[in-house]
């Protein structure tokens, strides 16, 4: 049995618990906000990753050098001890190398860049909205005479209409993105679910396993894909969801089936969750890993399906709300102040998230540079 490498973030765990759960921390350790806790936690993680890689590589080089010298000097006693030490360090290096490869994978770096860019866009949009809310409120406060006030009110009403349209576009696009990933998830699950159902029955984990709840979803997805996304296209062109589902039975069936699959996936995840652990669950997980799990990562597929279906259900609900909302002319001073405060707060916090996304990217670049140097030393 190879020597166990240290727990990846053993030292940081205690710190992370305090940082992620400020309510449980001592007064002197309390983070000012959840965002601040998260930023500190990420900083700590990246530092740990870098130190893990640097130390494992440094130790590997050091022992190799000592072994060369001991061998050259004919010190068989030292050679034996150093060979044993080298085997332990080699196990640590394999783990650290795995961490380095994962963190410097090109698709991961590209994803962090896209994440940073998206955070920047969200910040810009939040800042623009905050300025607009403030400006409208200022004009409302300043206007007391009829034509000026009705001009402001007309601008507010058109702003609301614009916001509703923007929201519709956002959720339509969100639904299309969900539909694309749903197809991918559904394909994986059409195979994985059948195998899982067999294994769960064998393990006696049958009660309420929810597998059957996913079957209509897979069938509805197949019907929708067969009709060439016809259901989602009508939503994309701006037709109301209610009208689209009345017109196209595939859309209605998919939305219903998606709701069922979201609930079913949650039940499956609960069933397979570690707590409380049982011998039957352990056996089922080991067997599924040997079957579907050997081709894919079990928990990632369950989470992907669960999120995609939940996001589609959420997008549908929010789109219906936006369509049904009456345009309200906001004249209450107190409610306007609340809107302005909320928009300003959202903009400030979006700025912090943009900074965090940039720092993540910078730390990833630092590890990529380190790993590039290590690879050069190894002669790759």
């Amino acid at each position: 049995m190879s020597a166990r490498a240290p727990t990846l973030l053993a030292v940081a765990t205690a710190v992370v618990v305090r940082l992620l759960a400020p309510a449980a921390a001592g007064a002197q350790d309390r983070c000012p906000s959840a965002e601040a806790c998260l930023a500190k936690s990420f900083g700590s993680h990246w530092t740990q990753y870098q130190e893990l890689i640097e130390k494992a590589w440094g130790d590997k080089k050091r022992v190799a050098d000592l072994l060369r010298k001991a061998t050259a000097a004919g010190r068989t006693d030292l050679v034996a001890r150093l060979t044993e030490e080298q085997a332990k360090i080699e196990a640590r290096w394999r783990f650290a190398d795995g961490v380095a490869q994962a963190l410097t994978a090109p698709h991961f770096g590209a994803f962090l860049e896209r994440h940073r860019d998206e955070a920047a866009r969200e910040h810009a949009a939040a800042r623009a909205r905050s300025q607009r809310e403030t400006d409208l409120y200022r004009r409302l406060v300043q206007s007391t005479i009829g034509p000026q006030r009705s001009g402001v009110i007309r601008d507010i009403a058109s702003y609301e209409r614009e916001a509703i349209e923007l929201r519709k576009t956002f959720f339509r696009d969100g639904m299309l993105a969900s539909a694309s990933s749903l197809k991918e998830s559904a394909d994986v699950f059409a195979h994985g679910w059948k195998e899982l159902a067999t294994i769960l029955v064998k393990s006696g984990l049958v009660e309420g396993n929810g597998i059957a709840g996913s079957v209509p979803y897979v069938q509805a997805m197949s019907a929708l894909m067969g009709s060439g996304y016809a259901g989602f296209e009508v939503v994309h062109t701006g037709v109301a969801v209610a009208e689209a589902t009345a017109r196209n039975r595939n859309t209605e069936a998919l939305i219903e089936a998606t709701r069922g699959a979201a609930a079913a996936t949650l039940r499956v995840a609960e069933l397979l969750a570690a707590s409380p652990a049982s011998a039957a669950k352990q056996a089922a997980m080991r067997e599924w890993i040997g079957a579907a799990g050997a081709r894919t990562v079990v928990w990632a597929n369950v989470l992907a399906l669960g999120l995609d279906t939940a996001l589609t259900v959420q997008a549908t609900r929010l789109l219906r709300e936006a369509e049904g909302r009456q345009v309200q002319v906001e004249t209450s001073d107190a409610r306007w102040r609340a809107r302005v405060e909320a928009a300003a707060r959202t903009a400030r916090e979006a700025a912090l998230r943009e900074e965090r996304a940039q720092r993540q990217l910078d730390r990833q670049h630092a590890i990529a540079t380190l790993y590039e140097r290590i690879r050069a030393e190894r002669g790759h």
Binding site: V16, L20, A34, F111, A269, A274, G290, V302, A304, A310
Partner: protein, 136 residues
């Protein structure tokens, strides 16, 4: 492939059994986090349901995430673990921000936190697709 062959052999070596157990144990940890995350996502209106329900769901997710952070993933699971965990942490933090804002009666904070939670769930979904794209 090597793992499946080892598991299918009539008398799997102890090493292969350890690897299978290690994978299963790690996947079980993640499955708990998945169940906790999906339970948070299933809450229809985080600013309208009883505050205690949101707090309970957030605390469960936080416990699962802390266990994941303190775990030692098998090397074969490192790509997914390291790519997805930060975004799961963000969902946890965003849910905590909702809980804190509701506890404090902070209406602007709640509006901002709700938006953050929606965005973070989308990012988690995107991270999963990215991690899947990196899978051979």
């Amino acid at each position: 492939m090597a793992l499946a062959v080892a598991l299918a052999a009539p008398q799997p070596s102890a090493r292969a059994q350890d690897r299978a157990d290690e994978l299963a144990a790690h996947d079980l940890l993640w499955m708990e986090a998945v169940a906790a995350a999906l339970a948070v996502v299933a809450i229809p209106d985080v600013d309208k349901v009883p505050a205690a329900d949101v707090k309970t769901a957030q605390q469960r997710l936080e416990r699962a995430v802390v266990r994941l952070i303190g775990s030692r993933p098998p090397v074969s699971r490192l790509p997914q673990h390291l790519a997805v965990l930060p975004f799961l942490q963000e969902v946890t933090a965003a849910t905590l921000a909702v809980v804190d804002a509701r506890d404090a009666g902070d209406a602007p904070g709640l509006a901002s936190a709700r938006g953050w939670l929606e965005q973070s769930v989308r990012r988690l979904s995107a991270a999963l697709r990215m991690a899947g794209a990196g899978r051979s």
